[in-house]
Symmetry: none
Subunit: 207 residues, 4 copies
DNA sequence: TATGAATGAGGGTTCATTCAT
DNA sequence: GATGAATGAACCCTCATTCAT
């Protein structure tokens, strides 16, 4: 057998991710090599080209935690708690994954297939698992809605946007929300559950 | 007395925006020049550097339409319609603005101040105006919520995410949602208004 | 008659000289234009090209003062004083003229003819006038030498080098010489007159 | 383990010196690369920038030959011969070094420290060594002067100017001097030794 | 297999020069 | 005559990629 690799691909990918996210995809391969403690030649031997390295480093991991949490059976009365847990898990997931998605999407050689690690792209996995959760809750009678996937996307979207604004470092965001993520999620789930419409203004009657 | 300017800055900025969003910020200045029908020299005279050009082209416009719509008084019974209109307006706004924000945020020389055209950054303007709208509705009795800004951010976030997934060209998004934006918005507002929780599972009692 | 020029060529040449000597001949024409208070177009109208401007600005003026001083009759007993005055005049001349000569000589388009303002190039004028002075002194019996032009060139060369080292800003020049130019010149003339050889070591006998 | 360097820094520096002195410091780096038989990339890897290359190529070498000649003990009766040898050595030194000094001094990024290779700048080394030689001769009784450093600077200056006029290609230099350098040096040393003043016009009595 | 020296194409930027006003 | 906007050729420099060791 050949001499074993002392620095494995993952270490290189971690370095590449750190460098590309900090300095943009224009950062030189040499910077990645230095950070990973390998020579430039090694990187090209392993990943073929800079693009190969880039897209490997930006690959979106499967949202296993979120999906698992969505699929786990919910005890009666624990539905809201589950949604809160999912909200927090989504925030964590997006903090890790959004920068990669945006960075690779902006690469001129991006193609949607790059996000297909397994069969289903991670965003679809997340929305799918959440939609199924809502459908199960509807079936149990603990939720009621005509559009389970809209509920799922409201949760995903609100957490996504929360992380996005954080990442954009937008100054002067209004109001009390911001520092306390758990509080934000709790309020959101409350709204999701109860609605924000006053009694008697039910949507069913509206246009 | 001297030769007057024949090329408008805006023509150059439009070309730059098109080129940078299509090919990434690495696209050569010469491509911008060619598309704008100017020489490279002119671009550098006007904008000083490629970075100057880039950030000028990526500047986020004030969300005047959305803000105006949020501030206009709401007739009784028209609240939900207004939120639907706002949802659609947000989708339009984000389609224009999200790519710019992401692209400039990923530039290594990005700084949050670059988004401060006026006094308030555009995302904060949007969330602020929507929050005030919710507060007014609460005051009139047509809505009820403890967290107006969370309602605002749910609307913003869901539309943001809708546009984002579109832009990512994520394949295999589950379900019926996708092609018909108006329908998506309508379903979302319904959920926002009525809530998705079954009667008797009200959040107020939960942790 | 056409409108008179409000800014004459000499003002432009002064500006050009200042700019080129400070920032090198690579300094942009626009810098000269700005300093002179004219537009770039004007400069090209007047001088044809940047090279034209450059060599016009670097032209070496005739050494009228030095030459006049050398040609003026010398009263008996005033010979050494005259040489001291000439030394000081040469220092002044070189301070003005050496940078121009070096700068234009280093231009790739330099040609010796460029220094021919009149019939005789300035360095030749200086050496010629001094040589004649020495010859006159020899004729009057106040000097004795076989090589009048060598005496002239010793004076010129020593002053030249004095200014050159000043201009080079050479640090750590040894000894007491430096700050007091008049003293330096005086000591040099003393040496020129009396020689530095000990009596009895006369050169005539040597190889 | 990696590929060893195949190109010597000195080869590059020699090429750079030749190119810059011939075509001015504005000559393109590509011309240097071509002349040295290297790629431009290599040059920048080695020297960092064009300025780095330029100042490295223009660095003034230590005047070892001149200094050694000045320090070597002088046999009685050989003093004048030694000064003649020094004059010739200085001419050789200046032919090599003057163009570099002038060229780098005219660079806008010049700073005097650039000439400090060792501890003492080359011009100061030369003048220092010559001054000490004169002092030794005075001590031995073979010379007499109050200003040894002025004698040194007269020698240096005259040779400097000799080379300078050569380099300037000044046409029409008067007189017999020019082609025969050895003759010029011999005449100069004679004058240096015996003085040019007629007996009885000694400087000591003058102001 | 790992290294890093060498390459050379490409891109940002400057600036002499032209020319419409 | 004077202006300064526009041009585009050239130049410095970077960096992905190759390859001898």
């Amino acid at each position: 057998m050949a001499r074993p690799r002392t620095i494995d691909d993952d270490q290189i990918l971690d370095a590449a991710r750190a460098v590309f996210l900090a300095d943009g995809r224009g950062a030189p391969t040499s910077a990645v090599a230095q950070r990973a403690g390998v020579s430039e030649g090694t990187i090209f031997k392993r990943f073929g080209s800079k693009d190969g390295l880039f897209f490997a480093a930006m690959a979106v991991p499967d949202p296993t935690e979120v999906v698992a949490l969505a699929r786990r059976p919910v005890a009666v009365g624990q539905e809201r708690a589950r949604f809160e847990a999912l909200g927090l898990a989504l925030v964590g997931f997006f903090r890790d994954v959004l920068p990669r998605m945006m960075c690779s999407r902006l690469h001129p050689h991006f193609s949607p297939e790059l996000m297909l690690q397994g069969e289903t792209p991670p965003p679809a996995q997340v929305i799918g698992a959440l939609t199924e959760l809502v459908e199960r809750c509807v079936a149990t009678g603990s939720m009621r809605t005509d559009s389970p996937e809209v509920v799922a996307r409201a949760l995903v979207g609100t957490m996504h946007n929360y992380v996005f604004l954080e990442w954009m470092r937008v100054p002067q965001l209004p109001g009390q929300v911001g520092p306390d993520t758990a509080d934000f999620v709790r309020r959101f789930v409350t709204m999701l559950w109860d609605g924000a419409g006053a009694p008697g203004t039910a949507a069913r009657e509206a246009p």
